[in-house]
């Protein structure tokens, strides 16, 4: 009979179970770096010109990052005031990923993501008014108030939406790419999901099929360190980007707190996909500042860890870069911020004042063809 182990655990061996983001080496009395939930690769050394970005693009990028940040901060306040219900998953901290990517892509390239989708919507066709109204469940929302926070979309702008089942939209991203290849339209699909989705079987099936059929799709893990409250190293084995090796798929790892890195590398990858019609598997490492959703007390990580990432905040970093390199004056930055602050406040007014959907809307948008509702008579007075 084998020896009985006293300490059987169903968790990775060698990881302190108490808290993520604690200082290591405390016992020896030495100050040592934090054991963080994600380690960032070095950012690109390129300046904006070397990365291929113009001054005008930088201004647009700053506007977009600031809009995403401010929109979500206000959304959070509105949620806390009880202006709307449901889930609210904030993207704050990850905005360099959405912003860098949309500039790296053509406007008709396709984007699909999971439920942390406000930032993606705001950089791809959802106006602040439409976004805020969607959160409020109003008829003027981007999805007519039927989707809410998790289902922002602007399909005419090739943003296919936010999806609510972890990993569920990964095969759909492959299908969008399949149709692009079938129609030979030259479009590249980008499919974003969190590190938690890496553990879903849907990812394996989709990567295998996409590599087999050479579908023009970039699968991007936005590894923000946590699958809800479980640190990446606790929920998945090995390095995430190395999954690609099993499929013989091209892969990359990108610093997602650094806008220029995201832009430069995603552009090179999109160019390669357009040229070769071969898929990529990309891990962009980033960090979310807020909880998984509004109900998350965040007991699984330290304040020190959060502070470490806030030191390299993409918003602050870009603002600093613009000022340091005299690409924008202090006044121009302030004016731009004031303009967006007002735009977001106006969006709240717009959402407040917009009507809720009419009762008839309950039965609308179910079918593209002939609608059918079983036993509908039972619901009509």
């Amino acid at each position: 009979m084998a020896t009985k182990h006293k300490d059987i655990i169903f968790a990775p061996v060698g990881i302190d179970p108490t808290k993520n983001g604690k200082a290591t080496g405390a016992a020896s009395g030495k100050q040592s770096p934090l054991e963080k939930s994600v380690d960032l690769p070095a950012p690109t050394a390129a300046n904006h010109k070397e990365a291929g970005l113009s001054k005008a693009q930088l201004h647009t990028m700053y506007e977009q990052i600031y809009l995403q940040r401010r929109f979500e901060e206000r959304a959070m306040q509105m949620y806390q005031k009880g202006k709307f219900g449901g889930f609210l998953h904030l993207y704050i901290g990850q905005e360099a990923v959405s912003t860098g990517t949309v500039h790296a892509l053509n406007d008709d390239d396709d984007i699909i993501t999971a439920y942390r989708d406000h930032g993606w919507g705001l950089v791809r066709g959802v106006t602040p008014n439409e976004g805020m109204a969607e959160l409020f469940g109003k008829a003027t929302g981007c999805s007519k108030g039927k989707g809410g926070s998790m289902h922002f979309a602007s399909v005419e702008n090739h943003f296919w939406g936010g999806y609510g089942i972890v990993g569920g939209h990964i095969p759909i991203g492959g299908g969008i790419a399949f149709a692009n290849k079938y129609q030979q339209n030259g479009r590249v699909t980008t499919c974003f999901f969190g590190d938690g989705a890496v553990d879903q079987g849907a990812l394996h099936e989709t990567l295998n099929i996409c590599q087999l059929w050479k579908l023009p799709c970039i699968f991007v893990v936005e590894n923000n360190g946590y699958s809800m409250g479980t640190a990446a190293r606790r929920h998945t084995v090995n390095e995430i980007h190395e999954r690609a090796k099993g499929y013989g798929m091209k892969s990359a790892i990108i610093n997602g707190m650094d806008l220029f890195s995201v832009y430069k590398e995603m552009k090179a990858i999109a160019d390669d996909v357009r040229k070769t019609s071969e898929p990529w598997f990309v891990e962009i490492r980033t960090y979310r500042y807020r909880g998984h959703s509004m109900s998350d007390p965040q007991k699984y990580r330290t304040k020190e860890e959060l502070a470490e990432y806030q030191k390299i905040d993409p918003l602050e970093k870009l603002r600093g870069y613009l000022l340091e390199n005299k690409l924008m004056t202090e006044k121009a930055v302030k004016d731009l911020e004031a303009k967006i602050d007002q735009q977001v406040l106006d969006a709240i007014d717009f959402a407040e004042e917009s009507p809720f959907p009419e009762n008839e809307a309950l039965f609308e948008d179910m079918y593209a063809g002939e609608p059918y509702f079983h036993d509908k008579g039972n619901f009509e007075s």
Binding site: D110, Y163, G175, A179, Q183, D365
Partner: protein, 327 residues
């Protein structure tokens, strides 16, 4: 009229739709080089090539989702499952995505995909290969569920399914693939979705059945006719939308009804049809509605137990005797 096997009728419908619409393609396990596990796709690869006739890995969740995404992005996918038992692995794509994406995005996209394959029992295949899924999918808003019983219906309905703007589940049967029948050779033969057919006229009792059960009821009707009981057999053909009007018209004439359903009893088509008859035709009924279904038990392998499990003509006769108060 041409005499075609059930599989040939489906194939003819798919072939015609692929010929008329470049956006239509078919994908699934063994559909291309193998010519289809049940030969429904025989010859399509040769005719349309690997762009439109596509062998998939055994990854139901993956390829069903690729079908959903392709449908959203302008194509008309036909996704074949080797059986609907395997489609359970793809249920997230059918139930959480195909049926809901349009609504939750406020109508910004549509999802014209056909999921098709054999449904329900095919003999002694054991517990995991024998389940009827039509009523389960019919439960979910946004999904159309078709389950034809004869070659002619299959051809006309598969064409409608492929042309539908919304997701359709098209259900067949391993045991019906070889069945022959007269099929209309009218050009572009279409049967509208959501219309029932009266498969046998009779004044004494209405029997509602779909798929394989239609043939079980036909056998029973022959027996019952010998004793002077004339069955009116209604085949809804489409489970959802369900043509209750045709069923109610018949029940109001016969005043008696038996529903035969190759599913388990809880919450199935039989339960739903029975409830609606009760509510809509209560005053016309001369007897409580009866149903013949599988028991609430998994499919056994042993022939003896299987025969006990599977609904047969004798059970239909007994149910008809019950509603006609005959010994």
């Amino acid at each position: 009229m041409a005499t075609l096997q059930f599989r040939e009728a489906i194939l003819a419908g798919i072939d015609e739709e692929m010929a008329r619409d470049e956006r239509v393609f078919i994908m699934g396990e063994e559909v291309a080089e193998y010519n289809g596990a049940y030969k429904v796709t025989e010859g399509l690869l040769e005719k349309y090539g690997f762009k439109r006739v596509i062998d998939t890995p055994i990854s139901e969740l993956g390829f069903a989702g690729i079908g959903v995404g392709a449908a959203m992005n302008g194509l008309r996918p036909i996704v074949e499952f080797m059986t609907f038992n395997f489609a359970v692995l793809a249920a997230d794509q059918i139930i959480n995505h195909a049926s809901k994406a349009r609504y939750m995005l406020g109508g910004q996209l549509s999802c014209p995909v056909v999921f098709r394959g054999p449904n329900a029992s095919a003999g002694q295949l054991g517990a995991t290969h024998s389940v009827a899924y039509d009523s389960m999918y019919a439960h979910f808003p946004g999904l159309t569920v078709i389950y034809p019983s004869e070659p002619d219906d299959a051809k006309g309905l598969i064409k409608s399914a492929i042309r539908s703007e919304d997701p359709v589940l098209f259900m067949e049967s391993e045991q019906m693939y070889g069945m022959k029948g007269e099929v209309s050779d009218a050009e572009d033969y279409i049967i509208p979705i959501g219309k029932a057919k009266v498969k046998r006229q009779g004044d004494d009792v209405t029997v509602v059945a779909t798929g394989k059960m239609v043939h079980v009821v036909k056998q029973a009707a022959v027996e019952l006719a010998k004793n002077g009981v004339e069955v009116e057999l209604i085949d809804p053909m489409t489970i959802k939308p369900l043509d209750m009007e045709t069923i109610l018209t018949s029940v109001k004439k016969t005043n008696r009804c038996v529903v035969v359903d190759e599913a388990h009893p809880f919450g199935g088509v039989a339960a739903e049809v029975g409830f609606l008859i009760q509510r809509e035709a209560f005053d016309y009924l001369d007897a409580p509605v009866q149903r013949v279904t599988l028991p609430d038990v998994n499919a056994p392998f042993s022939k003896k137990l299987f025969d006990l499990w599977f609904p047969d003509a004798k059970q239909v006769v007994e149910a008809v005797n019950a509603v006609t108060y005959r010994g």
